[in-house]
């Protein structure tokens, strides 16, 4: 990444190129080669300027609407209808202008994208009010999202794509609010619509902050979607495996597709890693393994089966991703973290060995205890592994996350086990001492490294 002085020099050089070609000092092929050497022009654009331009466009749009709304009461229905379309028509003309004349300017593209998408929402809301059109917020969101996604592609707005992903989450919650078993299939369709755009960004501009933002927005949305899907598919028993698979997939993708030169983790890998830790702790509770057996015996529709398949998708994906790198002996990820879906699947198998639960026992069996035990051992190993990796790579954050996991595990057992106070007390002293010793070791190691 060139520094700011460097960038200024590049801009100067670009400005000189036409003169140099005209003077015959270099050929036009040379000029093109120099241009392409420094990458696309738009990488120069300042991110904060883009945000300011976007906010500016939103304010202008809001201002226009307020001006119109000023005399709203006195206008006839026909007049209000015409006015409802005005901001949209202005926005659309601007989009055409930008596509023809300002296609290389990122602030222009981002700003008109926001203006157009807001104008669509304004037109629909104003028409709905004028003609007393009833309809739920979820329906409105769905139509709005579908009308907005082409803008993301046409104007190549990553900020817009992030907002779109947030919109899909909002839609999901708007649907989910009233009836608990919401069919989430449209959510996956809506989310898939933005994936090719992410792919384009990833190919062209992997290390930019915007791509990273989109890269984190997508898995966050997937987490919400998977939660609703697990409930819809009446296969909440499998939810544990599904989430284990999802977070492991995110972690592995973060390591594999966003490699970093230093020892630090990319934000996607970090999000996945934290998710793996939290899932391991959640699954270490015995209640996580009280099987309803709806997954196996429940009646499902076609979409229900698709939901079930989605729950299996991520664990399978995680195992394939990890397996591929292990076979090629080129893995950098934590084996302990990568094996969470397999451990969860084994625990699920153990929990289902016992005979079908009876109503008196409320799904609690000896097997669910055994499954929870397995996850407890796993979570402990995971914590130790992360701690060891932290110490090895000299990463205080990672070492402390490992310790935090162990501590969380200890606290969880403090609440739901029947150990004596003495045992619990000793447990806490051991964990606390571990924190202190590990941190002292790390800081001392770092101090000697700096001194050397």
């Amino acid at each position: 990444m060139p520094g700011s002085i460097n960038r200024r020099a590049v801009r100067w050089l670009r400005g000189q190129l036409p003169e140099l070609v005209a003077a015959g000092a270099i050929s036009s092929e040379n000029a093109r080669a120099i241009e392409s050497h420094y990458g696309p022009v738009e990488s120069r654009t300042n991110f904060s300027f883009v945000i300011l331009a976007t906010v500016g466009a939103a304010l202008v749009g809001a201002g226009i609407i307020l001006l119109i709304a000023h005399n709203w009461d006195d206008l006839s229905r026909a007049m209000r209808t015409i006015i409802a379309f005005l901001p949209l028509l202005i926005a659309q003309s601007l989009v055409v202008f930008v596509l023809m004349r300002r296609n290389e300017s990122r602030p222009w593209r981002e700003a008109v994208a926001v203006f157009d998408v807001a104008a669509v929402a304004t037109a629909i809301s104003l028409i709905s009010q004028t003609y007393q059109i009833q309809g739920s917020f979820a329906e409105f969101m769905r139509v709005w999202l579908l009308l907005s996604i082409p803008i993301v592609y046409l104007l190549r707005t990553t900020l817009g794509a992030v907002v779109y992903v947030i919109g899909t989450i909002v839609w999901l919650f708007a649907r989910w609010g009233f009836i608990s078993q919401t069919n989430p299939m449209l959510f996956w369709v809506l989310l898939l619509l933005v994936v090719p755009y992410f792919w384009i960004r990833f190919r062209n501009d992997r290390d930019s902050r915007e791509t990273a933002t989109l890269a984190i927005a997508l898995p966050v949305a997937t987490v919400f979607g998977l939660g609703v899907t697990a409930e819809f598919a009446k296969a909440t028993d499998l939810g544990g495996i599904a989430f284990a698979g999802l977070f492991t997939t995110i972690y592995l993708c973060g390591i594999k597709f966003f490699p970093r030169a230093d020892e630090r983790l990319h934000i996607v890998a970090l999000f996945g890693g934290i998710g793996v830790g939290i899932t391991a702790i959640v699954l270490s509770f015995e209640a996580s393994w009280h099987m309803t057996r709806e997954a196996l015996w429940g009646q499902r529709t076609l979409t229900g089966n698709v939901g079930l398949a989605l729950e299996f998708l991520f664990p399978v994906l995680a195992v394939c991703l990890a397996g591929w790198d292990i076979v090629r002996r080129r893995f950098q990820f934590s084996l302990a973290a990568a094996s969470l879906p397999i451990v969860a699947a084994i625990a699920w198998g153990i929990a289902n060995v016992c005979k079908p639960p009876t109503a008196e026992h409320l799904y609690k069996t000896d097997c669910s205890f055994a499954a929870a035990m397995l996850l407890n051992c796993y979570a402990l190993l995971l914590g130790i592994d992360i701690l060891a990796r932290g110490i090895r790579t000299n990463s205080i954050a990672r070492a402390n996350f490992g310790l935090l996991l162990i501590a969380a595990l200890a606290i969880s057992r403090f609440f739901d086990s029947e150990l004596s106070f003495v045992t619990r007390g000793i447990g806490f002293i051991v964990v606390g001492a571990g924190f202190l010793i590990a941190n002292i070791l790390l800081f001392r190691k770092r101090a000697t490294a700096i001194a050397a």
Binding site: D73, Q92, I124, L126
Partner: protein, 188 residues
Amino acid sequence: MKRIPVLIFILVALAQLAVPAMLAWGRIQTLTHGRVWKFKTAPVDPEDIVRGRYVALRFAAATILSHDEAYQKFAAGTKVYFILKEDADGFAKIERISEKPLSGDNVIIGEISYFLDEEEGVIFPFNRFWVTEKDAPAAEKAYRENSQRTKQNAYMTVRVRNGDAALEQLYIDNQPLADYLRAQAAKK
């Protein structure tokens, strides 16, 4: 090169214009050619009346007691067709409920309510009346005062055509809401 995105955008722009345009067009057709029905309003939970800029509506015609055979056979949330008829006072009431698609100027599409014990047994496809922000508090007061168990003096005119229902006007004390509010303001 530049032409292709512009051409694609023109298609997108047409879609963006078409959605609100079609919403408006359907309503204009229903409002001009639809048959007028008068729906007597019912008391609304005071907490629920004005949500931002609309008056939440309830209708006397939506009250079907839960022991009524006509609707007991339907599960909560079922999409149904209500066949309307006028009662002796000229207000709309449900004559019967059908699951089979029907069309006409006496049919509205709705849903069986989830709240079986409540007085509101069915859900009409209209339950809010947009008002301007300025009028909202006065509209709320007027609606509440005229939609009580002891004093039911408000009704909504709804135009119905081919199964589509469009809210036309909220009448309070036999005057359109805007006129009523103006008269009330003049009195003070």
